[in-house]
Symmetry: C2
Subunit: 238 residues, 2 copies
């Protein structure tokens, strides 16, 4: 495949497998979630958010040049911030609080679904253990993020009167950060995935990452929507 | 806690959290599963079975004495056998075939649920990364295995006329192997978990392992029972 054909095939994977197609997201954005279901989503997704800098540091540690590391370091700043109370994780905690949960409870990760932990940890292990090319390619779900963020913010503000624009402050910077991240990662993948084996590995990495996101929504949906079977020890909405 | 109190608390965790309480197992054993649902169970569970010797070798590599390693090595023999076509994995493949799937398809792990892979891989990572005491304690779900195996074999033979005693040959040796494994692991845990911190770590390890088993059934139940939402790329029963 040429770089353009590879990019088209990557985008096709998003069309088929990105988690904007999951019924839980359709519910969440369409105003069909109860407050407890939104709490469960914010709580579980917090674990994913909190581990993203761990994932990025794991990847950064494998980059061979200062140029590459500096580029990837921006992601650490985006999520961890420059001072206490800044950055993506901190903004996600504000969302957690605004839907009525304690930030300390979310930070403890006590109530999350085991399946959330397994999926997120699988992402970190993938980035640690696979080739650098695959690790970078697995970040490319960000290609599809701006669309879902737009739907999410508009849908949640329209449908839940207990959610404010302020509570969704996490998402606004992502609309500019994600395309910047993608520009680098997609450029890297287009340049370095030349052989058929490399290109197939890149496509599999993106499918894997879509699975990581999809499995988190499957677990939420099973526990809190249908059939609503909460695993022993996990968060129970009041 | 005394060793006896610790053992009682471990058994209480099983009563609360072992996967015999999951609705999927009640369906499976009660004859309420379709052939496609039994196929999905056998296929996904194959990945767990196939990774058990990887888990045991990971643990064996951390054992400090020949005595301990020889004891744990028995588990490798039980699962991998002494010759091609023997051992637990091979018997599980016969079950896979007897419910109408290709052994090669199961071995490829192509159709398994991503959540199955994430949960099983989390188990291996736990055994690699946690203390030896926690790694050994995580095997103690075997304390609860004979009961579920008894229910399973009787229930499946009674309810599914397309399942033979021969197809369930995997389970017969487990009825003697599991108690032997438990005798060693429980003895080790009783002896080495002395401080409160160690005892809490042991209890958490068993809870973790129950989560690993429960999450696999949650994923099966969500994909193939209720709501029956099969993730992109996973096995679709005909």
């Amino acid at each position: 495949m040429t770089p353009d054909e590879l990019e088209t095939t990557l985008r096709d994977i998003g069309t088929e497998r990105y988690h904007n197609r999951h019924p839980f997201h359709r519910m969440l954005h369409g105003g069909e979630c109860s407050r407890g279901q939104v709490q469960a989503w914010a709580l579980n997704r917090y674990y994913y958010q909190a581990q993203i800098p761990v994932k990025d540091a794991t990847l950064l540690a494998r980059l061979p040049t200062a140029d590459l590391r500096r580029e990837w370091r921006r992601r650490l700043v985006d999520h961890d911030g420059d001072a206490p109370g800044t950055g993506g994780i901190s903004r996600w905690l504000k969302l957690v609080e605004s839907v009525g949960l304690d930030a300390a409870y979310a930070e403890s990760t006590r109530g999350i679904l085991p399946a959330t932990r397994f999926a997120v940890d699988a992402y970190i292990a993938f980035v640690r253990d696979r080739s650098l090319l695959e690790a970078i390619a697995s970040s490319l779900t960000e290609m599809f993020a701006p669309k879902i963020i737009g739907e999410r913010v508009a849908g949640m503000l329209a449908h839940y009167d207990w959610i404010t624009r302020d509570a969704l402050a996490y998402f606004t910077p992502r609309l500019t950060q994600a395309p910047q991240d993608v520009a680098f990662a997609l450029g890297y993948v287009r340049e370095h995935a030349r052989t058929q084996t490399e290109q197939e590995a890149v496509l599999a990495a993106l499918r894997f990452k879509c699975d990581v996101l999809w499995a988190q929504l499957d677990a939420l949906h099973h526990a809190y929507v249908t059939p609503g079977l909460i695993p022993p020890g996990a968060f129970v909405p009041r």
